[in-house]
């Protein structure tokens, strides 16, 4: 596997109030190969390799699921929203077509 795949950054607002709807910005390093690109030197096709499944769990509840195709940019950046009504961990899981699973958990503590 090429290095640097699956590096994740999740950004939350600095302060979270109880019941507030917050934006969660996520970034993951991944090549997102479409399978249509060719290696210029060898003229061989670069096999498809992309994330096709994203899930977000708040506590143990699934709150967001996304099906991606090859049309999502490399190093996918995604923003989704969440109503912060409890103190619980937020786990985001990415899965790619070669069986790679990447996940990161952040704690959400509303005050």
């Amino acid at each position: 596997m090429p290095r640097g795949i699956g590096k994740i950054k999740i950004r939350l607002p600095r302060t979270v109030h109880k019941g507030q709807v917050i934006a969660i910005k996520t970034l993951i390093t991944h090549p997102m190969e479409t399978g249509n690109r060719k290696n210029k030197k060898t003229k061989k096709k670069i096999p498809a390799f992309y994330i096709n499944d994203v899930n977000a769990y708040y506590g143990d509840k699934l709150i967001m699921h996304s099906d991606w195709t090859t049309a999502v940019s490399a190093n996918p950046f995604m923003t989704f929203y969440l109503k912060a009504d409890k103190e619980a961990p937020l786990k985001v899981v990415w899965k790619d077509i070669k069986g790679g699973v990447y996940q990161k958990t952040v704690q959400i503590t509303p005050r």
């Binding site: 249509n36 096709k45 967001m64 699921h65 099906d67 999502v72 996918p76 109503k83």
Partner: protein
Amino acid sequence: MKGNDFSHSRREFLKKTGLASAAILSFSALSSIIPVGGSSGWLGARDAEAAAEKGEDIKEVLKSTFGSRRIKMAKVNMKVPIIAENGAVVPISISSDLPMDKGNYVKKIYIFVDHNPHPLVASTDLTPASGKAAFSLRMKMRKTSPVRAILETSNGTLYGSTKTVKVTIGGCGG
């Protein structure tokens, strides 16, 4: 009698050609739907190659995902650049004021790019816990194309929005 015979055969002829053309239509519809429905088919390199050369028709894709349901062009706010200098990274953000209550919420957000080999970019399932019907992503665009965002609520109503994004190729910076 002769006249009758003639009209009879003519009627049959019409019937037969009608049937034949219907069969051809349904076949072509099926063959274009198959790569959409079987997403696992995309994984096969040959399938992907064939699909990429042909490209999928946006009308067929919409039909296979939404059937004949009407899409109301309202209540969806889509933010995309008018001109994207780099087709590999086009930011898109979708939001809506539609309620996110328990019985009535936005269930799905679809993003389509008409002139991409596979028009569907992403489909996102939301829950009332999301608090807000909004989502954003960065996507790839092969060339200048209309971009569609379609929202499906839990009671099955569809809302949509379309904007055209111009993709400039080469580093001239539009």
